[in-house]
């Protein structure tokens, strides 16, 4: 963290903070994916290849090594919303185990949205990380 331009706004951890950090007290991990983030994860997953809903959930859980559990209800709502926004195409197809499933794919607009949301996420995550690391 650079102490230059922003130095006045960087807090410093005092001894109590350090004690709290080293105690390693971590609550129940939060595994619910926040809505805005879920959209981003869905768009990203579909940019790899078209997939059905269950496949998206499984892939997100896999890649994040189980940090994210995707609630089926939230997933369905998100898919409907993204389809309405024109970011996804949905098509009924036969799956390998001979079942019919709705296969989602990313549209051109969806790809643009993914790029915009990825840039936005990176900007925000970097700002938050900088802030939380200040003085640590």
């Amino acid at each position: 963290m650079t102490e230059g331009a922003n130095s006045g706004c960087l807090p410093h951890l005092d001894n109590q903070d350090v004690a709290a950090l080293s105690s390693g007290a971590v609550d129940e991990p939060t595994t619910d994916v926040i809505q805005g983030t879920l959209d981003l994860l869905i768009l990203k997953t579909l940019s790899l290849e078209p997939m059905h809903g269950f496949g998206i959930a499984r892939r997100v859980e896999q890649i994040s090594r189980g940090v994210f559990k995707v609630n089926p209800g939230s997933l369905l709502t998100a898919l409907q919303r993204l389809e309405r926004a024109g970011w996804l195409d949905a098509e009924w197809r036969q799956t390998p185990n001979a079942r019919r499933a709705k296969i989602y794919s990313l549209t051109r607009a969806g790809r643009k949205q993914l790029d915009a949301e990825t840039a936005d996420w990176n900007r925000r995550a970097a700002a938050i990380a900088r802030l939380l690391k200040a003085g640590a």
Binding site: D17, G36, L40, T118, R124, A125, A127, L131, A136
Partner: protein, 110 residues
């Protein structure tokens, strides 16, 4: 787009507020301005999210609020982080890094 971003922030706002209060008490307005300044205005803190968050945090015993006088001589509620709040800050900072590195992992997949 903007809506999605605010929701993204939602889960981290409390952590950021606790971090802001770690060096000493501040009033609500100062918390918001400090966060915006320190993030180069990447984060916009709306009053409509800030004050409900402060209220929730007060209920949970993470911050303690006392009336005082602001630098402009106005009455303002000053928020102070409690020992429980400091514990929470440490825990949620760890959660945040777990969460953000999981997102990055997904975003970096090709």
């Amino acid at each position: 787009m903007a809506a999605a971003s605010n929701e993204l922030l939602h889960g981290t706002l409390e952590t950021l507020i606790l971090k802001t209060l770690a060096p000493g008490p501040r009033h609500g307005y100062a918390i918001a301005r400090w966060l915006e300044e320190c993030t180069g205005e990447v984060l916009q803190i709306e009053d409509g999210s800030l004050y409900p968050a402060l209220y929730r945090m007060e209920q949970r015993g993470w911050v303690q609020a006392d009336w005082g006088t602001s630098e402009l001589g106005r009455k303002a509620k000053f928020y102070k982080i409690t020992p429980a709040g400091r514990k929470r800050l440490a825990a949620s900072t760890a959660e945040w890094s777990r969460f953000s590195s999981a997102i990055s992992k997904v975003l970096l997949t090709v």
